[in-house]
């Protein structure tokens, strides 16, 4: 405020001095004019209107120029913030939108964008750059660091806005980043920065920068640390080390993977075992049920088979009894038949004996009669033979021999019978 008052006093003093100086040349220049005037007699033409016109015109042009160059109303583009400062009183007003009245000379308007801004720390990007960071070992490290920030409109009060510098990057962001990054990096080793604690370091840097920027009314959106530039020799050794570490890590992860695979196999095998056991149990159960059903069907059949067997037994018994009775009847019938047969045969034998006796007697009587007849008529024999042979023999040529009859040989038996009968007759006669 004091500074402004001083500058105001100074400007008033300067203006008064100019007025005094403008009044003084009248006397001074009067001497000069009197010295020059006699040399040239000029026609008396009044220049006053012309000068007045030119002056008015110049003043109008100047006013127009001033208005064009320094318009009293300024339009505020969307996404921007305007800070109007009264040059006389030092009052500060924050404008967020709309036209801003800013009389030239009275007000000073400063605009700030509310959009996100990005700043890239180019000076610390390379280990060989102008301002690299230093690790705890004293090695230079380049960080490819980008900061994304914005003015926090919620925390930007009029007082705070008045203290905002025009160049936020160089006056707020860069100092805050450098003050944070150098300090944090200096506490860590290259290895930690490069690989093992990179995320933590990034997080720590972000936290601290966020706090610092927030104090100045800025909002840190994000910090991104890209490539970390190491000294060439160190990089080579570090890469080898990291490769070995990675190999070890890889081996560790491989082993873990194998362990997990083994566990997975175990679980799969266990599940398969359980599934098979369940399936086997179900199959066994089905088998048992089928076997029991088979047994049940057999059980249901058995009574009928038993009944069938009993029925067959009864039928067989009935058949046996029937056949026995039939056999007994047949035997009895046969006995009766046999008795009858025997009796019949006895009767037949008796009849036969009687018949033979009778036939014998008849034969004897007939033979006796024939014998008597032949004895009485011997030629009867020849006649009988001739009768018997008459239809068999047509011509018989034979010489009569011993008695002259051809059938003597044939009739020998007859002759012998005749002789016998004769003898019988003789015997009978003798008896």
């Amino acid at each position: 405020m004091l500074l402004r008052l001083k500058s105001l006093t100074r400007s008033v003093r300067i203006a008064l001095a100019r007025l005094v100086r403008r009044a003084a040349p009248g006397a001074a220049s009067g001497d000069d004019a009197s010295a020059v005037r006699p040399l040239r007699a000029m026609p008396s033409v009044s220049l006053r209107p012309i000068l007045l016109t030119l002056g008015v015109t110049a003043a109008a042009l100047g006013a127009g120029y001033v208005i064009v160059k320094h318009p009293p109303v300024q339009q505020l583009a969307p996404g921007h913030l305007a800070l109007r400062t009264n040059q006389l009183t030092g009052d500060t007003t924050v404008w967020r939108s709309g036209p801003v009245w800013a009389l030239p000379g009275l007000y000073q308007v400063t605009r700030y964008p509310l959009q996100d801004q990005t700043w890239h720390a180019a000076s610390m990007a390379s280990a060989d750059g102008p301002s690299p960071a230093q690790s705890v070992e004293g090695l230079s490290i380049g960080l490819d660091l980008s900061v994304r920030y914005a003015i926090d409109p919620a925390r930007l009060t009029a007082a705070k806005a008045a203290s905002l510098p025009e160049r936020l990057v160089t006056q707020i962001v860069e100092p805050a980043v450098q003050a944070t990054v150098y300090k944090i990096i200096a506490r860590h080793t290259v290895r930690e920065i490069f690989s093992s604690q990179r995320a933590q370091i990034e997080q720590e840097i972000e936290g601290q920068i966020r706090t610092k920027l927030a104090a100045d009314g800025l909002l840190l959106r994000s910090i991104h640390i890209g490539k970390i530039d190491l000294p060439e020799d160190y990089r080579r050794g570090m890469e080898v080390l990291l490769t070995e570490g990675l190999s070890a890590e890889k081996m560790r992860y491989t082993l873990e993977l194998r362990e997990k695979q083994v566990k997975e196999s175990e679980l799969t095998a266990s599940a398969e075992k359980a599934r098979r056991e369940i399936a086997a149990e179900a199959a066994g159960r089905e088998q048992v049920i089928a076997a029991k059903a088979q047994e049940e069907a057999m059980k249901h059949v058995l009574p009928f088979k038993q009944r069938q067997i009993e029925q067959r037994k009864l039928e067989a018994e009935a058949n046996r009894v029937s056949r026995v009775q039939q056999a007994e009847g047949e035997a009895q019938a046969r006995r009766i038949e046999a008795a009858g047969e025997a009796e019949a045969r006895q009767k037949l034998a008796d009849a036969e004996a009687y018949r033979l006796t009778r036939v014998g007697k008849a034969n004897a009587e007939q033979m006796a009669a024939e014998g008597a007849l032949i004895t009485k008529h011997p030629l009867l024999i020849q006649k009988t033979m001739a009768d018997r042979l008459s239809d068999k023999v047509q011509v018989i040529i034979a010489s009569p021999s011993q008695g002259g009859f051809i059938g003597n040989n044939l009739l020998g038996s007859v002759a012998r019978a005749q002789t016998a009968s004769t003898e019988v007759d003789t015997d009978n006669t003798e008896q």
């Binding site: 179900a282 029991k292 059903a293 049940e296 069907a297 249901h300 069938q308």
Partner: protein
């Protein structure tokens, strides 16, 4: 000098050409002449004489390599026995090699494959034909003919071996034939069926034939029927394995195109399908999958309905009867599953141990105890429940095993309700059913149809059964012979049952 040079040059050219011809002629010669033994018990002799000592005995269909000829004898080498000797020329059939020999071999195969007893010779000819046919022809109709011939002959040989031989020399010949067939790549499986062992062809040729697009419909049908024979399934298989096998059999039968198939082959195919789908229906029902069982039973009934009995050959009648018995046994699986409303109702419930209990309930008595209850390890066809008009008897179909359906009769007595079981026949369970054909008014008799194939016997009877003792009072082989069957048959039974087929 110039002429001499020309002559020498010409001589050299001639010599080179002669050498080339001799080499090419040697290359064109067959590597080895092969002959097939055409008769059984051919003696391999040590010398080209009939009186020479016998080395071994060769059987029909064996392959020998011809080494030389001596008069009527041919000197051969038996690679199987690693023995050489002499065989009469008339007992051998020389087999050509190369594509030009294929038509002759195919003609011989076509003739020999129809001769019973010559299966091994036919298999040897088929092997020779496969070797002679070019690759493209093997994928065509010729290849299909050869595979079909192999399958048919292998089936016939297995059938011969299963039937056995009466005379000792025939038994030796049968064993030798099986050995020769195995040497030609035909393998057999031994299926234990009760007390006897059945030999079945493993079916490799049939499977290859079914995979060939060039195979005719009849050839495919024959192969599919051979691969799905019921008597060649493993009887020791568990229910799950049997169901999976039946599923595969059904899929195999479905693959055969029937549009161009002759009527009798269609009938055979439908008969087999009915049999297979019946088994599947029972297995699914026993597993508790009623929906799948219904679709399978419907497939079985549709298949058996497609069979035209007039088209069936005499040999197929027994198989058709078997299929009809199986399909009729599971016909209730295709029913609605809800018994018609009656004075009494039968409900079923599953126990934890796998049994199914059928309970007779009087709906008029609220929360009452079942009038009678009996449990079974088999499948209870609840849709078959039927109650007589008098309300003193009820009948229920229960199927304990595949293809064997019993009739459970609930009977009201003075002491209460009793449950009696009427099996299809008084035989060891095989195939069969006993089903209610109707109720005789009066509540003392029922009509029962029973049919069974078991213990080598076939029983088909229609009976008027007395309810008290379940003994048949009148029996006939045909329902028309019994008056009650004309007067009081159940309409649903007349409509749905295959007993009246």
């Amino acid at each position: 000098m110039k002429q001499l040079g020309n002559v020498l040059l010409a001589a050299a050219v001639v010599a080179v050409l002669a050498a080339v011809f001799s080499v090419s002629a040697r290359a064109a010669e067959p590597v080895a002449a092969v002959a097939l033994v055409t008769r059984d018990a051919v003696t391999l002799r040590a010398a080209p004489r009939d009186s020479a000592a016998a080395q071994t005995v060769l059987w029909r269909g064996e392959v020998v390599e011809i080494r030389a000829e001596r008069g009527d004898f041919v000197q051969v080498w038996d690679h199987q026995r690693e023995r050489g000797g002499y065989v009469k020329r008339s007992q051998l059939l020389g087999v050509g090699s190369g594509e030009q020999a294929a038509p002759e071999l195919l003609a011989l195969l076509g003739f020999v494959s129809e001769q019973p007893g010559s299966e091994t010779l036919g298999l040897a000819l088929a092997a020779a034909a496969i070797q002679a046919l070019p690759g493209a022809a093997l994928q065509g109709p010729d290849g299909a003919r050869v595979l079909d011939a192999i399958g048919r002959q292998a089936e016939r040989l297995a059938e011969r071996a299963s039937q056995g031989a009466q005379r000792s020399q025939d038994r030796a010949m049968l064993t030798a034939h099986l050995d020769v067939a195995r040497r030609h790549g035909v393998t057999f499986q031994s299926i234990e069926d009760g007390e006897r062992v059945r030999l079945c062809y493993e079916g490799d040729a049939h499977r290859r034939l079914l995979a060939m697009p060039a195979a005719s419909a009849e050839q495919q049908a024959r192969a599919a029927l051979a691969l799905t024979r019921s008597d060649c399934q493993n009887p020791q298989a568990r229910p799950g394995e049997r169901e999976a096998a039946d599923q595969a059999r059904a899929a195999l039968l479905d693959r055969v195109p029937t549009t161009t198939l002759a009527a009798h082959w269609r009938a055979r195919l439908a008969t087999r399908q009915a049999s297979v789908w019946s088994g599947l229906a029972f297995a699914r029902a026993q597993r508790g999958d009623a929906t799948a069982a219904r679709s399978a039973a419907e497939r079985a009934l549709q298949a058996i309905a497609r069979v035209d009995r007039a088209e069936l050959a005499d040999d197929d009648l027994t198989r058709h009867t078997e299929a009809a018995l199986r399909a009729n046994a599971v016909r209730w699986a295709a029913g609605s599953g809800v018994a018609p409303a009656a004075a009494l109702s039968i409900t079923t419930r599953k126990l934890d141990d796998g049994q199914t209990c059928a309970s007779l309930i009087d709906p008029r008595q609220k929360a009452a105890q079942p009038l009678a209850e009996r449990c079974s390890w088999g499948v209870v066809w609840a849709a078959s429940a039927s109650v007589n008009r008098e309300g003193n008897a009820a009948a229920l179909a229960v199927q304990p095993i595949d293809g064997w359906r019993e009739l459970w009769v609930f009977r009201k007595t003075a002491q209460g309700w009793t449950v009696q079981v009427l099996p299809p026949a008084a035989l060891n369970p095989g195939l069969g059913y006993a089903e209610l054909a109707g109720w005789v008014p009066g509540g003392r008799q029922m009509l029962v149809a029973r049919e069974a194939m078991a213990e080598g016997r076939t029983v088909r009877r229609f009976e008027v059964v007395e309810l008290n003792t379940l003994t048949p009072q009148r029996t006939a082989f045909e329902p028309d012979a019994l008056g009650p069957f004309a007067r009081w048959p159940d309409a649903a039974w007349k409509r749905d049952s295959l007993a009246l087929r």
